[in-house]
Amino acid sequence: MATQSLRTAVVIEKRAKEDAQQTQRGARQAIFKLDGVGVAYSGKPAVRDVTFDIGKNEITALIGPSGCGKSTLIRCLNRMNDLIPGAEVSGGVHYHGQDLYGPDVDAVEVRKRIGMVFQKPNPFPKSIYDNIAFGPRVLGMKGDMDEIVESALQHAALWDEVKDRLKTNAFGMSGGQQQRLCIARALAVSPDVILMDEPCSALDPISTGKIEDLMLDLKRDYSIVIVTHNMQQAARVSDRTAFFTVELDESEKNRTGRVVEFDDTEKIFTNPSDPRTEAYVTGKVG
């Protein structure tokens, strides 16, 4: 029966895909290993018990309602929380197997290796060229600065748009271009991880689409972690998704973020394991 043959083919194809996914999963390399990570501000836990691996050359999305600790967590990954008075990080954050919070680890070197892009584009009040060259100059990077700038702008898919006005002020760029400039600025110091905290929330759909395309291009060379409130964006670009929620602690006074589910993005958005994830991604609770 032709219909049955077709259905069988569909099942076989699905099983083959599952096997391929399993094989691929087995080959995944973790760039970060988070083991019971918690962050407290002035003794009050903001997020706790976070345990999962972040894959190399993957895009990992952190989603969840406001106050669930996803931005707090992403800031742990390049020690940005060091800059916040009273912030304490507990648990293990291992980057390439090394304890990121070990006594001999230089936070500046960490931030060079692990760049960050913020919600609102924040170019320096300088020329496009100087924005990109700033990091390499401060870090005393060797090499031809023109090449470094061009390479970073090329990687950020911005070169063709700005190559004839590199010496003009970055504030003259559109919001989307400014955000790609910030990505280029992060790339200029040769990181291997880029953290993005709601990088498109201030951008229009066209600019958002360009950043998303860029992320998919960049993951060939970099590992990306993105915090986003836009679940369709998480679905479109990420390989793996962590869903965070907010819980009241035992005293019922403090709200603390926790990871509910961490899995392949396709699984999270088609058949999540936890009903709380299902309720959140389908928008039934907020």
């Binding site: 099942v11 999270i268 088609t270 058949n271 991604v281 389908t282 928008g283 039934k284 907020g286």
Partner: protein, 233 residues
């Protein structure tokens, strides 16, 4: 995270499910009439069955359009996405079952008002039709209740139809050498085939029930493989 949101979307989705499953009620009516048409050689009723298929086709278009709008405007995910995907299959099966009723009705005028009918063969056809009707109702109930065991039971029921279909075939072969009677018997074999396909479509809807509940699509029964256990959540 306690406040329930997207109430309008939820209503829309529930409405689509009601419309799609309501299509099964239309199929049950069409099947009743098609059976009556065949068993009583009622040519006028046959033309009504054929004309009324527009209602089922209309339901198909309505649900199909509703699903497209929902996908475009609401971007359902997770359980909602599975339900929408399943409804797209369900309504297609509804439309196909309606077409099978039309196929049955179209055979009736070919034999004229007083064909050389044979009661034992008609009895078999009637039993097949009753069984298929039961499956049409049950697949809708299983889907509505998200009852995988009830959906899986459709396979057992479908085996009864297949058995009756084989009996129709053998009975038709036994009906002697009269050319008119053999022609009528061949038509009854085709009617049997239509009913058998309706049963298959009901099983397919059962498989969609299991998909909605578990997130895994597996055929309950496959001609080239042993019967698979039902997927579990």
């Amino acid at each position: 995270m306690s406040e329930t949101t997207r109430a309008h979307f939820q209503e829309e989705l529930e409405g689509l499910e009601r419309s799609a499953l309501g299509g099964l009620d239309l199929v049950a009516q069409a099947l009743d009439r098609a059976l009556e048409t065949v068993c009583n050689q009622d040519i006028e009723l046959a033309s009504m069955v054929i004309a009324d298929d527009d209602r089922i086709d209309g339901r198909y278009l309505e649900v199909h359009q509703g699903i497209l709008s929902l996908l475009a405007l609401q971007a359902p995910v997770a359980g909602d996405l599975r339900l929408v995907a399943a409804l797209l299959h369900v309504i297609k099966h509804v439309e196909r079952m309606g077409d099978q009723c039309v196929n049955m009705a179209k055979l009736v005028p070919l034999d004229g008002h007083q064909p050389p009918a044979e009661q034992s063969l008609l009895d078999l056809i009637f039993r097949m039709g009753e069984q298929a009707r039961q499956q049409v109702v049950q697949c809708g109930q299983a889907f509505e209740r998200r009852d995988v065991a009830m959906a899986q039971d459709l396979v057992r029921q479908d085996d009864l139809i297949d058995e009756l279909n084989r009996a129709v075939f053998h009975r038709a072969l036994e009906l002697g050498d009269d050319a008119d009677r053999r022609e009528w018997a061949m038509h009854m074999m085709l009617v049997g085939r239509c009913i058998e396909r309706i049963g298959d479509n009901a099983v397919d809807i059962g498989e969609q029930t299991a998909f909605v509940v578990t997130g895994l699509f597996r055929e309950f029964e496959d001609a080239s493989h042993p019967v698979a256990p039902p997927p579990t959540a």
